[in-house]
Each structure stands twice: as C-alpha cells, then as structure tokens.
C-alpha cells in the first residue's frame, strides 16, 4: 500500500474524505486545527440541518464517530500544517505539534469562516443585544433554551431575518452569494414559528435563492404552512427606540419607506473564505480564487484539483457550499487523490 493521504480540516468534507478512503483500506492522516472534529456544524452548534432535518450533533456527530473508529484514519487534533513539500506520491508535511508526515497526496477541506456582523455596523450587531446572527439562533435552538431575546430573555413577538448579511455586497468586498443562507433562514423561520406560534417572522430579501428542491421544501413550505412573510427590501439601518428594535428600509413592492418595530433581528450571515487561506496558499503552494477561496484548477478535469498537482480541495474551502455537496466533493477529491498518489491523473470528463 502507498503512503497515507493527508487531509487537512475535519469538517463534513474532511470527515467524508477520510471515511471514503478508510473504507477501501487507504490510510489517511486527518489534521484538525480545533480540539474537536465536526467542522462548522459541530464547532458552532447548528440545530436541525437542511435538508435532512436531523440534528447536527447526530448527523455530523455520527460522521465523527465513524472516522474516529476507523483504524485506517489517524486523527491529529489541535494541529495545523507548518510546511509541505515534495511531489505527488512523495510529499512531506510537518505539523505544528512537531509530527512529520509522509503523504502521497493531500486534500484541503479547511472550510470557511463565518462572516463577522460587526463589519456591517448599520445593522446593529454588537450595538443592540437583540440583534443576533443565524449562528446564535442555531445555538439557542440546539441547546434547547429556545429562541429568546438576549436582552431580557423574553419570547420575541416579531422577528426579522435579514438575508445576505456579508454576502452580495461590494461595499464590504463580498461579491458572492453564500448559497445556503436563504434556505437556512427559511428553515429557521419555520423552527421559530413552531416553537413560538404567536411570533410573526418576516424575512427581508433581495432575491430568494432556495435552489433546486429547496424551493418547495423550504421557501414554499415556510410561506404556505408556517405563514412566514417575505418582504422585498434590503434594510438600510437597524436602530432602537429604547424599547424595541426599529428596522428601516424601503419596501420596494409598494415603493414606501418603512420603519417597523421588531423584538429580534437575525442576520443571515454568509460564508467568508477561511481566514487561514493566505497561509494555506503559501504552505501548500496553491492559488486562491480572486475572492479568497482556494481555487479549483478547472471544472471538468481531475475533480477537486488545485493549481498544485497532487493537492486537492473539497467543500466550503473552495467557495460557499452545502454539507451534502461538500461531502460529495470530498468523495470525488478522495478518488482523485487516490489516483494521484499512484501517479495517475484521473480526468473526470475525458
């Protein structure tokens, strides 16, 4: 058997790659920066996932358990890769914990960084305690505490979800759509309505991008079964009258300015490139996409190929991605890495 394959990042994508390779007996070393595996869904503490409806701790927790029990996978937590050299079939990596790893190929599954809402001060995050992010609401739900206003613990009567916070905004240099936040927000709105039936939920949007089958299962369902209201407006400002939050903007459908009181405002935050990407780019010698994600070499060549032969990428490391697509990409990249470790380049569409 050839040398192990190095997998960097233990989120859904990294776990899927390790599992796929492990299940055919290929040794892997999984390097994870945090002290736990599971990536964003576990580290942040998401609630029920789209589209499975399963709790993150069960679904992704299951992936973690499977990988940790796999004898072909060596897990190295609280570690990052310091240096990486060599060529396909014979790479050498040194880790921050001093370990030296010989690897035949590498897969980068280093994921994304949540947008920090403080960078959009006009929307009140960090100023008003009842302005929160989707991550925080996920935590309120997954912890079992329920959706409550952080200021005084009351149950909100009216909640606004603002879409595209940290996405689709040239003012802050983010020209991409984060792909999953519309669907996550529709799902969250239904969860809020389920827990608090008297609470009205309004979603402020520019476009609704619940792509593919998510259209009926999330967008339509949230409207038709849960009576969530969608208003076409990009909010200008979130302020407060001392009692409630005031959401200001223009309702573009009736061409009227709005200043509406809310108990809670939720930012549907986007998926930024991983803050480590500059370092990862330098260490692994891979090019970045102009928006800062790890660049894919091409669309139809070796799946997951980067600018460096033998180094592959999968999941949110390469751009905003869903969990299921991250997993599928990881399987594809695992296949490419396996072939590259044997000095074959596997073209997907030859």
């Amino acid at each position: 058997m050839s040398k192990p394959i190095l997998i960097v990042g233990g989120g859904p994508a990294g776990l899927a790659a390790a599992h796929a390779l492990g299940s055919i007996g290929q040794k892997t070393v999984l390097v994870e920066k945090a002290d736990r595996l599971g990536g964003a869904p576990i580290l942040t503490g998401y609630a029920k996932l789209v589209p499975s409806g399963q709790w993150a701790k069960d679904a992704i927790g299951g992936m973690v358990a499977r990988v940790e029990a796999n004898p072909a996978v060596t897990v190295r937590k609280s570690a990052i890769v310091k240096t990486f050299s060599g060529q396909p079939g014979a790479f050498t990596a040194t880790l921050s914990d001093g370990a030296i790893i010989e690897a035949s190929a590498a897969i980068l599954t280093t994921g994304f960084t949540h947008f920090d809402s403080v960078n959009k001060p006009e929307w009140g995050f960090g100023t008003f305690p009842d302005v929160v992010t989707t991550s925080q609401v996920e935590q309120m739900i997954s912890s079992g505490r329920g959706v409550r206003c952080p200021s005084d613990g009351r149950k909100p009567k009216r909640v606004a979800i603002l879409l595209c916070v940290g996405s689709r905004d040239r003012q802050i240099g983010r020209e991409w759509c984060s792909k999953i936040c519309c669907t996550v927000s529709a799902n969250m709105a239904m969860e809020i309505r389920e827990e608090l039936p008297d609470c009205h939920v309004y979603i402020y949007y520019m476009d609704i991008r619940t792509f593919g089958l998510y259209e009926s299962d999330y967008y339509w369902k949230s409207q038709e079964e849960f009576k969530v209201k969608y208003i076409k407006a990009r909010i200008a400002e979130v302020t407060s009258d001392g009692k409630q939050l005031i959401v200001k903007g223009e309702d573009t459908l009736v061409k009227r300015p709005i200043t509406i009181p809310f108990d809670m405002v939720v930012h549907a935050i986007g998926m930024d490139p991983n803050v480590d990407n500059m370092t990862l780019s330098a260490v692994f010698g891979v090019d970045l996409h102009r928006h800062g994600y790890i660049a894919r070499k091409d669309a139809y060549g070796a799946m997951g190929a980067t600018s460096r032969t033998g180094v592959f990428v999968a999941g949110a490391a390469a751009g905003p991605e869903t969990i299921d697509d991250s997993i599928a990409q990881a399987h594809a990249a695992a296949m490419s890495a396996l072939a590259a470790g044997r000095n074959q380049i596997l073209q997907a569409a030859e």
Partner: protein, 265 residues
C-alpha cells in the same frame, strides 16, 4: 393611473398654511408646504387573518408578488388601478388605510378567473378579490354591490322555495337596487320574447309568478341550508370582530346608494 406610475406625492398629503411664521421668518402660503410622511411605521397582522377567514381568501398567505394576476387581469386591462397583486400585498402587511383608498374599485372583479389560471402559487386571486369585497361590505366600508344584491335575491328565493322564478328574481333585484321595473330595454326584451313564446308557456309562467310553487319536500332541505348559512355568517362575523348589531349588513345597507362602476374617475 397604474401604481408604478403613481405620483409619490399625493395632493391630500400636502399641508399648506395660510399664515405661518417659523423662528421669526414668515413662511405663509407656498413657503409652508409640507408633505406628510409616506413611511410605513407598523404592520398589522390581523388584516390578513380576517380576509383569510372569508371564503376565497384562504390562500392569500401564499402570494409571492409575481404580478401574474394583475398582468392577466381582464379588468386591469381597462382600469389600470385594478391591481390584485397590490391589494394582496396591502392586506398581507395590514396596510388597511391604503386598501380603503381603493374600496370602490376592488369589487369590480368580473370573476373571469384568468388570474386563477395564471397564478403560479395557487393563491386564487379571484377568491381573494371576492373575500376582500365581502370584507369591505361587512365592515361597512362599501354599500352592497349590484351583483351582491342579485346574488342575495337569487339565494333567498332558492332557500325559501328550492327554485327561482326568473321574473321574480329580476323584480326583486330592481327593487333592491331601487331601479324602476319598467325599463325600456327590459320591456323590449319581454315584448319580443312574448311574441315568439307559445301561449301555454306564457300562462305557465304567469301562474308560477302568482302561486310561487315550491320544490316538493323542500322544508327539510331549507332548514339544513339555513342552519349552514347562519353558522357560516356567524363564523365570518366572529373572525371580523363584528358584533351582533352589525350582523345584518344587508338590512343596514338596504337604503344606502348602490355603488356603480367609476371608470370615469
């Protein structure tokens, strides 16, 4: 004017003061013209629930404002202010005062159902128009429309006797809408029909008019239908928070003038 061409400044929102001095500066007349704010400062979630409680309004919450109903609408083609998409939005956001501005247009829906077939979300906008017209009438914002008068005359005859007499329906309708029975066009039609009709038929209908025959064994059906209608009416009144005194809008509005198409406005 179609709503996308509507002026942002409405004449009634202009405030001018004949005599006004601010900080010692005389700003009388044009100088003191202020425009009242168009800002929407709250949503009223109750309005949608009220419309949804009336027959036809059930699916209003599905609307995603694509405008297909308005684009396909028969009435909109000749009356650009007739805009189902817009009214559905006003109702959903609870902008009651805006809705009331159009109260004399909404009932003009001709129930052609073009919108029903165009709507991608099965909102059934025709039903929403019906429910909205119904709501306006129940709340006392509009007088009973001619078509509503007709429907009531028709329904009451059916409920009472299990059948209708054409001539009597017409007579009742004219009475309710305070129109003379002897209208030139009607006399002309009646005359032409009479000329061609076999004598036997003429006698039969004259007889029916006088004797008012019932469908046999109708009493039981009548009670069941009446019970159902009353239960429905009560439910609707409850949903609209209308108390008993107002519960017979028909009687209350009997003397009110009949609304008429106002295309010339």
């Amino acid at each position: 004017m179609p709503i996308h061409e509507k002026s942002l400044i409405r004449p009634e929102n202009l405030r001018t003061h004949e005599k006004l001095t601010i900080d010692g500066v005389d700003v009388s007349g044009h100088w003191s013209t202020f425009i009242e704010s168009r800002v929407i400062t709250d949503y009223n979630e109750a309005l949608e629930a009220e419309i949804a409680a009336l027959p036809g309004g059930e699916n209003i919450h599905r609307c995603w404002q694509c405008g297909s109903c308005t684009n396909s609408c028969t009435v909109n083609a000749i009356e650009p202010r007739f805009n189902p998409r817009y009214w559905i939005y006003l109702i959903r956001m609870g902008l009651e005062s805006e809705l009331l501005r159009d109260k004399d247009i909404i009932w003009q829906c001709v129930s052609c159902h073009k919108c029903t077939y165009a709507c991608p979300r099965d909102v059934v906008p025709e039903g929403v128009m019906k429910a909205t017209a119904h709501w306006l009438e129940m709340k006392g914002h509009t007088a009973t429309s001619p078509s509503m008068h007709f429907d009531r005359e028709f329904t009451e005859q059916v409920v009472a006797r299990g059948r209708i007499e054409d001539v009597e329906v017409l007579r009742g309708f004219f009475k309710r809408t305070r129109q003379p029975l002897m209208q030139d066009w009607l006399v002309e039609i009646a005359w032409r029909i009479a000329k061609r009709l076999p004598v036997k038929w003429g006698l039969k209908s004259a007889f029916s008019l006088l004797r008012k025959p019932r469908t046999r064994g109708w009493a039981k059906a009548r009670r069941a239908i009446e019970d159902y209608i009353h239960a429905q009416e009560e439910e609707h009144e409850k949903a609209l928070h209308i108390g008993k005194p107002q519960s017979r809008p028909r009687a209350a509005n009997e003397n009110a003038p009949v609304s008429r198409p106002s295309a010339a406005e």
